[in-house]
């Protein structure tokens, strides 16, 4: 019953955003832009693989592309479990903030 970590959440959201264009280079660019911090490929790849192992992401290869010299790109997509995990964490965050605001406002 492990909750998504921040990093994992951001990665999943990036994948969600990029739709069918979600491969490592673009994911990284998006993350860099939105979070304002530079992400290293190492951390990214490892996290991506972990997410695949956990079943939140699916990875697939495109057809061979000319601009890559005949090699494929690896695209990541969200699975149903991935969607659920994002939902879960969003709810929990909302509830946490609500609890704080209630006492504050009260």
């Amino acid at each position: 019953m492990k909750l998504l970590s921040r990093t994992e959440e951001f990665i999943l959201l990036s994948v969600l955003f990029l739709k069918e264009q979600a491969y490592s280079v673009l994911i990284r660019k998006h993350l860099n832009k939105v979070t304002g911090k530079t992400w290293s490929y190492g951390a990214l790849f490892i996290s991506l693989e972990q997410l695949v192992k956990k079943g939140y992401l699916k990875s697939s290869l495109t057809a061979p592309l000319r601009e890559r010299g005949g090699r494929s790109k690896r695209i990541y997509t969200l699975t149903k479990d991935g969607h659920k995990a994002l939902e879960e964490i969003k709810q929990i965050e909302r509830k946490m903030w609500e609890a704080v605001l209630e006492t504050d406002g009260g």
Partner: protein
């Protein structure tokens, strides 16, 4: 390699895609920030990726490790018996290896206390004689001086004039006392002032650089100084050497623990110049001075050797002496070399033997481990089957088992260290050593031990790990795990090997023991019974009055005969050679008096013995032994005159010809290691070193006391030291006795470990066959029938082990026995005895387990059908 690791990160060949992605980014970065920056960026990305990946692996590994550890401990506890045998067997062998390692390390560390060890050399003289190379450390005293004067590379030097059996006396007149404290039997040397600059000694008092600069100065070791002066300051005190010379103590040193030198005092050689003249230590005749030199930090050994050899050759040529080769030998290798010198000797052979034994013991223990682990297989079958069904990778299983064996190995190491601590004092006692465990805990050594244990754990655990992880779940759950034929064969082969090694060691022990016994009991051709030996004192008074002394001693009713001689049977002193028919034949020489033959029980075969009353018998009359007759090719020896031209200037025969007056039966003047040489016996009054007293065999205390009285009259101030000839002789085999001990203990351990292995195996087999045994019993099998059933398998293995061991042992023992000129025959007796021993021990082990199994109640074993 980094690429390989990188590749591994993406098992589904995501490598290609990843690299491409990276390249894409790289292009961008390079475009924006420049090519060079891009390259660095790329590098950083790869490195961080690697770093994170490794970290992840470790974290994953850690949790796996904890899980495995839990399982390991649980297994060990469940199979307490096996685990104990496994760990204990390994622990015992590790302990033995630790002891051997300590010993070897100690031996290798000799002389390392010397600060300049890498620059220290000893001067060697060498040459060829009758196609045989010889070399010796004893050279002329002038050599040291010549070389230091003419060879600039020789920074410091020292010679040794070794003196044994010296007496130091201190007349204590302090604090109103008046007493003499004397120490005797001292071994010390006259050395050059440079002694302590060549050799590093720990000075408790005095300045090493100047202690021996003055004549009549002496440096003592702590123990001697303590014995002489108690708590008083030794510096400046005067001691008397041999009742003649007064020396001043200028320094006190600590005797180094591991040094090839075995000296208790050092006196300045300049003293000899004062006593006998300025050139007394510049002798070109007698080769009896070990010489050591110190070379500069940077030196060309070849060049220095050249110079030395050239110079000495010139010196020798000038003196008309036959030229010999001079060279330097590093002191660091002296202790273990085969060069003869006075002092402590090591033996490279012994070290190699010990090393081999250690390896063998580890191999045997490892074999045990493999055997037991694989034998236990079926008990773990269920665990393995289920794990595989769950989906645990075989590789992971293998790793788990390897981890288990490493754990066992480390546990064994821990136990071994405990055993070592426990048994070290006993070990030191048995082998008269002084080893400490401290060197074990130096980081380097400790790391080696742990790494070694781990490696052994892995190596030994490899086969069982692979074997166990290969179990098919189906066969396991069906309960069908029967040992493959290959497995049993392998295991049997290992047992055979273990026992073969043990048998070899047993045969070795028995052979050595029986050879030593043979040597001790053999008829030596002379009689050592009831003979008291004493060295003659360095006293002129004594030496001038030998006849009177003899007469006085003979007055005692229990003293039969007395003889003064140089050397005695068992301790020859002089070797020379005589030219016969253009060939030089070497012989051993004893200078004796008329009673020699009687005291030592020599048997006269022809002619007569020496009669000192006849002047013509002095110096030129000789009695020879049978071997001499043979080697000299004499038909009727008695009465023959042989011309004598001495080789070298020092000879016991300062005459032109010698006359043979008698022939004695051969006797062993040396140990049985050597052949009997030709022996010449003559009388030369200047050559006397010992005295021998033949007594009746009774009233020993009385006899000794009386002899002491007589001694005191003629050698006042000199202590009377004596020994018994029949106790001295066995000491010639001291080194062999050490071998015997080593083999004995090695054989003991080997058998112990082999039996442990056998025990484990048989108990397992017996347990496995409880059902079968139960059924047999119900069907009416008797106890003995079952015993035979269970033991036959292993008996065959033992017999095979014998067959393998015998030829190997035979070959090895023959080689060792070749050391002895007189040896036993390797009879079938020893081999048979060893075989019986091994068989007996094995049968007891097997039998015990079989008995347990056979006497089990069939009702119990058949209950769980």
């Amino acid at each position: 390699m980094a690429e390989r690791l990188f590749r591994r990160m993406f098992p589904d060949d995501g490598f290609d895609t990843t690299v491409c992605d990276l390249e894409e980014s790289f292009q961008e970065v390079a475009r924006e920030k420049g090519f060079f920056y891009g390259k660095i960026w790329y590098l950083i990305q790869v490195l961080t990726a690697l770093y994170l990946y490794v970290g992840l692996q470790i974290k994953g590994g850690l949790s796996m490790f904890k899980h495995n550890l839990k399982i390991t401990l649980r297994n060990l506890r469940r199979n307490k018996g096996f685990s104990f045998i496994n760990i204990f067997g390994l622990a015992v062998s590790f302990a033995v290896v630790i002891f051997i390692a300590l010993f070897i390390r100690n031996e290798l560390s000799f002389d390392r206390g010397n600060e300049h060890l890498d620059r220290m050399y000893t001067v060697m003289m060498s040459g060829e004689w009758k196609q045989q190379q010889w070399r010796q450390q004893h050279i002329i005293s002038a050599a040291g001086l010549e070389l230091s004067e003419n060879i600039p590379e020789i920074v410091k030097y020292t010679r040794f004039s070794l003196q044994s059996n010296q007496a130091l006396q201190y007349h204590d007149t302090g604090r109103g006392q008046d007493r003499n404290i004397m120490i005797t039997g001292m071994t010390f040397a006259w050395v050059d002032p440079g002694m302590f600059e060549v050799f590093t000694y720990d000075f408790k008092a005095g300045n090493p650089e100047i202690v021996l600069d003055e004549p009549y100065s002496i440096v003592l070791i702590e123990e001697v100084a303590g014995n002489l002066f108690g708590n008083e300051d030794p510096i400046g005190k005067v001691v008397t050497l041999n009742n003649r010379y007064e020396l001043t103590v200028t320094g006190v040193v600590k005797k180094p623990a591991n040094s090839h030198l075995n000296l208790n005092a050092f006196a300045s050689i300049l003293t000899i110049r004062s006593i006998r003249g300025p050139d007394a230590d510049r002798n070109y005749e007698y080769n009896s001075y070990p010489t050591y030199v110190l070379l500069p930090d940077e030196h060309d050994l070849e060049a220095v050797n050249e110079k030395i050899d050239t110079h000495m050759a010139a010196v020798y040529k000038r003196l008309g002496k036959p030229v010999v080769k001079f060279s330097l030998f590093p002191v660091s290798e002296l202790y273990l070399s085969d060069i003869l010198y006075q002092g402590n000797h090591g033996s490279k052979t012994l070290l190699w033997i010990l090393f081999t034994i250690a390896i063998f013991i580890v191999i045997i223990a490892g074999i045990n481990f493999i055997n037991l682990s694989t034998a236990r297989a079926s008990t773990r079958a269920r665990e393995i089957g289920i794990k595989k069904v769950i989906g645990v990778l075989r590789k992971k299983l293998t790793r788990q088992f390897l981890g288990e064996s490493m754990f066992v190995a480390l546990a064994a190491l821990g136990t071994a260290l405990g055993l070592a601590v426990l048994f070290l004092p006993a070990f030191n006692r048995v082998f008269t050593l002084d080893l400490s465990l401290k060197s074990l805990f130096e980081p380097g050594m400790f790391f080696c031990l742990v790494a070694g244990a781990c490696i052994i754990g892995i190596l030994a655990g490899l086969y069982p790990a692979v074997y166990l992880s290969a179990f098919q779940p189906v066969t396991v759950i069906r309960g069908d795990v029967t040992q493959g034929r290959k497995g049993t064969f392998f295991r049997k082969a290992l047992i055979v090997f273990q026992f073969a090694v043990s048998i070899i060691l047993i045969i070795g022990t028995l052979t050595i023991a029986s050879q030593i016994r043979f040597a001790r009991n053999k008829d030596l051709g002379f009689s050592a019974k009831n003979v008291v030996i004493f060295p003659q004192p360095q006293s002129g008074l004594f030496r001038r009055n030998l006849n009177s002394i003899k007469a006085e001693l003979l007055r005692h009713p229990d003293i039969r005969k007395v003889s003064f001689s140089q050397g005695y049977p068992g301790r020859p002193w002089n070797n020379e050679s005589i030219k016969i028919d253009e060939e030089y034949i070497s012989f051993t020489h004893f200078s004796v008096d008329s009673d020699f033959a009687d005291v030592y029980g020599l048997q006269l075969l022809e002619g007569r013995f020496l009669d000192l009353n006849r002047q013509s018998d002095h110096l030129r009359a000789v009695v020879i032994n049978e071997t001499a007759v043979r080697k000299f090719g004499l038909e009727s020896p008695v009465g023959t005159h042989l011309p004598f031209t001495p080789r070298g200037n020092l000879t016991a025969f300062p005459v032109e010809e010698i006359e043979i007056i008698g022939v004695v039966k051969d006797f062993h003047c040396r140990s049985l290691h050597s052949e009997i040489n030709p022996i010449l016996i003559s009388f030369n009054p200047d050559w006397m070193t010992h005295g021998g007293i033949l007594y009746s065999g009774e009233n020993l205390a009385n006899v000794v006391g009386y002899a002491k009285e007589v001694w005191k009259r003629f050698a006042p101030g000199f202590p009377f030291e004596f020994s018994f000839l029949d106790q001295e002789l066995p000491q010639m085999y001291a080194k062999d006795a050490v071998f015997e001990q080593v083999f004995f203990y090695a054989a003991g351990f080997s058998i112990l470990i082999a039996c442990l292995g056998l025990l484990g195996l048989t108990s397992y087999v017996a347990a496995k066959r409880t059902k079968e045994i139960g059924i047999r019993k119900v069907l009416g099998a008797s106890l003995s029938q079952i015993l035979i059933l269970l033991s036959t398998e292993f008996t065959a293995a033992i017999i095979l082990a014998n067959l393998i061991a015998w030829p190997v042992a035979y070959y090895l023992m023959r080689k060792w026995l070749a050391n002895f000129a007189y040896r036993i025959d390797l009879g079938i007796g020893i081999f048979a005895l060893s075989a019986l021993l091994a068989l007996g021990v094995a049968l007891i082990t097997v039998g015990w387990q079989a008995l347990k199994a056979a006497s089990a109640n069939p009702a119990h074993s058949l209950k769980y059908e």
